[in-house]
C-alpha cells in the first residue's frame, strides 16, 4: 500500500500518450554508460557474427554501409525511467544481417568496443524488431550515444541496445551480459517493468 505524499500532485503526461509503467517523458536524450565512450576509427571498425567457434559473417565499415539501409522511427524506454518518443534513426536491419546465417541457436550475446556485452533471444532480433543504427536524427551517431554504430532494440529497455557494437555471438543457452550480471533483468521488457533480476 503506497503512502500518499502530502501535497504531491505530480505532473501527468499530456494527452493520450501511453508509457510503460514507471516511466516519464523526456525530450532530452540522457546517456547511461558504465565507462568512458570509446573512440573507434572507421578503418578499423568491423561487425562480425559468430557461433562461438566460427565467424559466419564479417563486414568492415564500407561493406556494412553498402547494405540496404532503413529509416527507423521508434520510442525509447530507459531503465532509469525516462522515455523518449518518436526518435528517428538510420540503420541496417538484423533481418538483413542474419539473412544468410543458418543456425539452430536461440540466443545472442552482443559485444562492444569497450567490452560491454548484452544478451538477447534471437527471436527478438528478427522480423523488423532490431537494427544496427549509425545515424540519429539525420546525423552520424555521436560517440556518447554509441557511434559509429549501435544496436537498436526499442521494444526492450535501452541498455539492451548496446552502444559501440562490434559483433554478436550466437548461443544455445541464454546467459547474462554486463548489466544482466549486475542485477538487471535478463530480458528487460519495459511494458512488464522488468528492471531488476527479481522482477
Amino acid at each position: 500500500m503506497a503512502i500518499i505524499s502530502r501535497g504531491f500532485a505530480g505532473r501527468r503526461s499530456a494527452g493520450e500518450v501511453k508509457l510503460p509503467p514507471g516511466q516519464y517523458l523526456t525530450t532530452d536524450f540522457p546517456v547511461l554508460s558504465a565507462g568512458p565512450s570509446p573512440r573507434i576509427s572507421l578503418d578499423r571498425w568491423e561487425f562480425t557474427i559468430d557461433d562461438g567457434t566460427n565467424v559466419m559473417q564479417r563486414w568492415d565499415w564500407n561493406s556494412f554501409r553498402d547494405l540496404p539501409r532503413e529509416t527507423i522511427n521508434v520510442d525509447l524506454h530507459c531503465v532509469t525511467r525516462w522515455s523518449k518518443l518518436g526518435t528517428s534513426w538510420e540503420g541496417i536491419s538484423l533481418d538483413t544481417l542474419l539473412a544468410n546465417v543458418k543456425t539452430d541457436l536461440s540466443f545472442a550475446m552482443f559485444h562492444s568496443y569497450g567490452d560491454y556485452t548484452t544478451n538477447l533471444p534471437l527471436k527478438d532480433l528478427l522480423n523488423e524488431q532490431a537494427w544496427i543504427a549509425f545515424k540519429y536524427d539525420g546525423t552520424d551517431l555521436a560517440p556518447e550515444h554509441g557511434g559509429p554504430a549501435r544496436l537498436l532494440v526499442p521494444h526492450l529497455y535501452l541498455w539492451k541496445s548496446a552502444k559501440w557494437v562490434k559483433g554478436m555471438t550466437l548461443m544455445q543457452h541464454d546467459k547474462p551480459g554486463f548489466w544482466e550480471g549486475l542485477g538487471y533483468h535478463i530480458y528487460g521488457d519495459p511494458w512488464r517493468e522488468q528492471r531488476y533480476s527479481e522482477e
Binding site: A2, G7, G10, E144
Partner: protein, 253 residues
C-alpha cells in the same frame, strides 16, 4: 554484504524523514530512517516513489550520500531541477516526520567496497559529488587505508555540497586529498581562474597512472565525456574508469 545487495532490493519500504539540511540554495540532504534497511555499499542508489491522493505516482532514483551504517539511517542529497517532477517536492515540501516510499539499495557497478585497497580517484561534476561522498564517508568510517583523491568541479563556492565536512576532512591530513575546480566564480584570491577541468589540472591533481588507481567519475554527460577523455589522454587505463552520468547531453558544469 554481497547477499543484501541483491535480496530485497525491489521491495518497497516505508522510511521516515528524520532530518533535513540545505546544502545549497537548490540542494537538500534528507535523512531517512528505514526499518529493516538491508545495508548498502557506497555508490548505490535508491528509488523514491511519491504518490498523489488519486493514486498517480512518480519514481526517481537518488544516490545515497551516507556511509553504510548499522543504524538503518540513510541520507540522500537532492538537487532541485526547475522543471522536475519529484525533486521540487523533495527539496521544498518534505517535512521531518513524513513517510516516504523507497526501495533499494540498487547498483553493483558504480560502487566502492571497503576491501578495495588500490588508490581511488574521485572526480565529481556538480551534484555528481553525492555517490562519491558516500565513498569518502565509507572510507573514513572503516578501517580502510585506501588513498583517496577527490577532484570536485563546481560552478561557484556557493554551489558546493558538504563544504564544511570536506574542509574538515581535508584539514585532517593525508587520507583524502581534495582539489576544487570552480567553473564560473572562484573564491577570493583563488590561484586558478574560473574554468572547467583541463589537462593541466588533471595532471597535477590526480593519482599518476603508474599507481593504477580506480577512477569514479560522476556528473552530467558532457562533464563525464570531457573528463574521461582527459583521464585517458593522461594515461589512465580506460578499464579502471567507472562512470555515472545524469541529465541532458548539453548540460555544462
Amino acid at each position: 554484504m554481497a547477499g543484501t545487495e541483491v535480496l530485497g532490493r525491489v521491495t518497497w519500504r516505508s522510511g521516515k524523514v528524520v532530518a533535513l539540511l540545505d546544502e545549497t540554495s537548490s540542494a537538500r540532504t534528507i535523512a531517512i530512517v528505514v526499518p529493516d534497511w538491508p545495508g548498502h555499499v557506497a555508490g548505490q542508489h535508491i528509488d523514491v516513489r511519491l504518490t498523489a491522493p488519486d493514486g498517480y505516482s512518480a519514481v526517481r532514483s537518488y544516490s545515497i550520500a551516507s556511509a553504510p551504517s548499522m543504524d538503518q539511517r540513510i541520507e540522500i542529497t537532492v538537487e532541485r531541477l526547475e522543471d522536475g517532477e519529484v525533486s521540487p517536492y523533495l527539496t521544498q515540501e518534505v517535512a521531518i516526520g513524513d513517510e516516504l516510499d523507497l526501495r533499494g539499495p540498487i547498483g553493483r557497478w558504480f560502487v566502492w567496497h571497503i576491501d578495495q585497497s588500490e588508490p581511488i580517484q574521485l572526480i565529481a561534476g556538480g551534484s555528481g559529488i553525492v555517490p562519491l561522498m558516500a565513498m569518502i564517508r565509507s572510507r573514513l568510517a572503516s578501517k580502510s587505508n585506501a588513498r583517496f583523491r577527490l577532484l570536485y568541479s563546481v560552478r561557484e563556492p556557493a554551489a558546493t555540497f558538504y563544504k564544511d565536512e570536506l574542509q574538515a576532512i581535508s584539514n585532517r591530513g593525508e587520507s583524502v586529498i581534495l582539489t576544487y575546480a570552480f567553473t564560473r566564480i572562484t573564491p577570493k584570491d583563488w590561484p586558478r581562474p574560473a574554468s572547467r577541468i583541463d589537462a593541466a589540472l588533471v595532471s597535477e591533481s590526480i593519482w599518476p597512472s603508474h599507481l593504477s588507481p580506480t577512477c569514479y567519475v560522476c556528473g552530467p554527460t558532457s562533464f563525464v565525456e570531457h573528463v574521461t577523455g582527459l583521464l585517458i589522454a593522461a594515461g589512465t587505463d580506460r578499464k579502471r574508469i567507472r562512470t555515472e552520468r545524469f541529465g541532458s547531453t548539453g548540460e555544462h558544469i
